[in-house]
């Protein structure tokens, strides 16, 4: 009886040590779910979800504080992906959050006064320029978040829709005309 007790105690102590060590040795920094959600989000960093960037929104979703239908740049498909990832029901966009056509910012360089406000607002450093020097957008890096629009004091930034040309054209889902019964 006593020996059995000792064996059990010894075993529990041993396992406790092993588990305790494993908890320290294999500790995961941060919440892995946040990373997964962040990978699904489009990384425009636009803040249209109400959070200051994609990562904070991902954190809020992971904590269950936020809905999954707040990201317009992610589109309907983004919601589906989040729903699949989190195992929750799909929700359509609510209210005024609607996906827009993709666009890229454009600075009218004749109007730009070189105030650097847009540079400070750009979340992905896609604007080049210096104080009292003309600014310009690196189009390939622009996520189309529109965060540069409000700070501009002379309204010289516009959003250009990305026009379809041969380089970005894609095949459409074939439209099949259903066979109709002959009357």
């Amino acid at each position: 009886m006593i020996s059995a007790l000792w064996v059990m105690i010894a075993l529990s102590v041993l396992l406790g040590i092993v588990l305790g060590y494993a908890a320290i040795r294999f500790k995961i920094e941060g919440n892995p779910l946040v990373e997964k959600i962040d990978a699904v989000l489009p990384q425009t960093q636009c803040g249209q979800c109400g959070y200051p960037g994609c990562k904070p929104y991902a954190e809020a979703i992971a904590k269950g504080e936020s809905d999954i239908n707040l990201c317009p740049p992610g589109g309907d498909e983004g919601i589906h992906k989040l729903a699949d990832l989190l195992g929750v029901e799909y929700k359509p966009f609510g209210g005024d959050a609607q996906p827009k056509a993709k666009a890229v910012a454009f600075i009218d360089e004749n109007t730009c006064i070189g105030c650097t406000l847009c540079i400070q607002a750009c979340p992905v450093d896609a604007i080049v320029g210096a104080a009292k020097q003309m600014h310009t957008i690196i189009a390939s890096e622009c996520t189309g978040c529109e965060l540069c629009l409000p700070p501009c004091p002379v309204d010289c930034i516009s959003m250009d829709k990305i026009a379809e040309d041969i380089s970005n054209w894609k095949w459409q889902h074939p439209v099949i005309i259903p066979i109709q019964a002959v009357a």
Binding site: Q43, W169, W171, H173, P174
Partner: protein, 554 residues
């Protein structure tokens, strides 16, 4: 005798090749205008280097390659540039693209051009010349040949020269092999030299006996020992690069793997020909052989200047009144052209004039009955019925798992489908969606990285600023402390001097001479008391004598 291999599936559509092989290659006259697209190759669009109104000579470069994956574009004849603008081009999208419009002056005046001695020129120089001459894969893939001949990463064993030409109606390679076999072989030998390949296998389908005979004769005459002309069975799509490599070498090339990694490289016969013309004669790719067939009076092969408008080319073969549309390429994989104003490019191997009689509109699409005929004919050994299902339901992840990327879009599945489902369209749709997603994913990853770096930078700047401030404060505090210390020290020093002075004074005082009243004798004291008493008495007297009187000062 070499053993040939075979690939899975394949179909046998009616070939319709006899119509256009009755006459030799005819030289198409210079058209009234040339619309030369600047994007005729895989990679980046060429950048125009001519001005509107400029006179250009035949063979003059009008578009320079942009970036590594690109190729040059040349003026096909001498004339004047009349416009550089967006024109309809031969593309599935039917969208316009940047073209140079050239009005020929009819003189066909060459720019000075000389070939190089290919045996005494470095490989790097030869590759550069291929790029400068705009040599791209003329089988239809239009991949820049200079990059394909750069094989120093891998040891190439076999060079496959593709003369299979499996698609119905097309006979341009057939005629080229019949008439210009020697130059093709010279080109092949040159490519073999560039690739350092051990052997050259020329695959030709057995429905082209004249071409096979011509090529075999040329090989024997020229005495190429490591070159072999092989007759492959006629089955569509044996002319696909992967399929031909499989037939000739038994090697299977998976999607995402370059054939060079397996020690094989493949070029079309027309590419070998144009590579030879470019290097040995200094002639850029200005024209190519194009089969004009279908609903025309005289189907024939023409040597056509790149940029010739379709209408003028069709007129040469005799346009029929009931022509309703044109197909560029073959009926299996070709592009439906938006209009007859588009021009021929380096990728154009065949123009089929279509009529309702020749190509009736497709029968209504019916549901998939999972008969698996498509899987039986798929040359890539895929399961087209499953891929169709996944593409239709936008289940792209699953489509990728079922190796959609291996699909070569040959159209064999759609050809045999009893329900007339446009299967290839579904695969193309799924592929372009998958491609777009991967592009978006890359962009998102880049944006995330940039955003995170920005956050990091802002944070770093903040801490640096805070540190600077703290340093400043510390410096200020230190300065103040030192000032105060100095002040205190000065005060201390002053105090000390004062103290010292006091001390000194004390000492001085202590050591000073004693007063004469200090040490008095009893006698003297008595005398002093006497004097004091007398003075007191006098004061008393004075007080009584008059209040006004001052007491006498002692």
């Amino acid at each position: 005798m070499r053993t040939l291999f075979s690939f899975h599936g394949g179909v046998h559509p009616p070939t319709h090749k006899a119509e256009s092989t009755r006459t030799p290659i005819a030289l198409a006259p210079i058209p009234s205008k040339l619309i030369i697209p600047l994007w005729q190759h895989v990679g980046n669009r060429s950048v125009p280097i001519v001005q509107v109104g400029e006179r250009v000579l035949k063979g003059q470069k009008i578009g320079r390659p942009e970036g590594k994956l690109s190729s040059a574009v040349h003026a096909s004849t001498s004339g004047t540039v009349s416009a550089i603008d967006m024109q309809l081009v031969a593309h599935h999208s039917g969208l316009p693209d940047l073209c140079v419009t050239l009005i020929p002056d009819g003189r066909d005046e060459w720019i000075s051009h000389v070939g190089v001695d290919v045996t005494h020129t470095s490989h790097a120089e030869l590759r550069h010349l291929l790029r400068k001459a705009g040599v791209v894969g003329l089988g239809g893939a239009v991949f820049p040949s200079d990059l394909k001949t750069d094989a120093h990463h891998h040891q190439i064993k076999t060079l496959v020269i593709n003369g299979a030409e499996c698609e119905p109606y097309i006979t341009c390679d057939d005629l080229l092999m019949r008439e210009r076999a020697q130059d093709i072989l010279r080109g092949a030998e040159l490519l073999r030299e560039l690739l350092q390949a051990e052997e050259v296998l020329i695959g030709i389908e057995d429905n082209k006996p004249e071409a096979i005979a011509a090529m075999q004769l040329a090989v024997t005459q020229a005495g190429y020992r490591n070159m072999e002309v092989l007759c492959v069975p006629t089955v569509y799509p044996s002319g696909g690069a992967k399929q031909l490599i499989r037939i000739l070498t038994g090697i299977e090339v998976a999607a995402g793997v370059r054939s060079t990694e397996m020690g094989v490289q493949c070029f079309n016969v027309a590419t070998a020909y144009s590579a030879w013309r470019a290097l040995a004669h200094g002639e850029p790719v200005l024209s190519r052989i194009i089969t004009v067939t279908g609903n025309v009076r005289e189907a024939q092969n023409f040597e056509v200047l790149i940029g010739t408008p379709l209408d003028e080319l069709i007129a040469l073969a005799g346009k029929q009144a009931d022509t309703n549309r044109y197909i560029m390429g073959g009926p299996m994989m070709g592009i439906d052209l938006p209009s007859g104003t588009v021009s021929v490019t380096k990728a154009t191997n065949c123009i089929i004039a279509s009529s309702l009689k020749l190509f009736p509109p497709p029968a209504p699409v019916m549901p998939c009955i999972r008969c698996i005929r498509c899987a039986d004919v798929c040359p890539a050994d895929l399961q087209p019925q499953d891929l169709y299902w996944f593409a239709k339901s936008n289940n792209f992840g699953k489509a990728q798992e079922f190796n959609l990327a291996d699909c070569i879009e040959c159209g064999a599945c759609a050809y045999v489908c009893p329900s007339n489902i446009p299967l290839v369209q579904y695969y193309r749709y799924a592929k372009s969606e998958i491609h777009e997603r991967s592009v978006e994913k890359l962009a998102a990853d880049k944006a995330r990285e940039r955003h995170e770096y920005r956050q990091f930078r802002i944070e770093r700047e903040k801490t640096e600023k805070a540190e600077r401030l703290a340093q400043k404060e510390r410096d200020a505090a230190a300065a103040k402390a030192s000032f105060e210390a100095g002040l205190a020290a000065a005060e201390n020093a002053q105090q000390q001097t004062i103290n010292e002075a006091i001390e000194r004074a004390k000492v001085q005082a202590a050591t000073a001479h004693a007063l004469n009243t200090d040490a008095l004798t009893q006698e003297q004291l008595a005398k002093i008391a006497e004097v004091d008493a007398r003075r007191a008495k006098m004061r008393e007297l004075a007080a009584t004598a008059g209040a006004d009187d001052e007491p006498p000062k002692s």
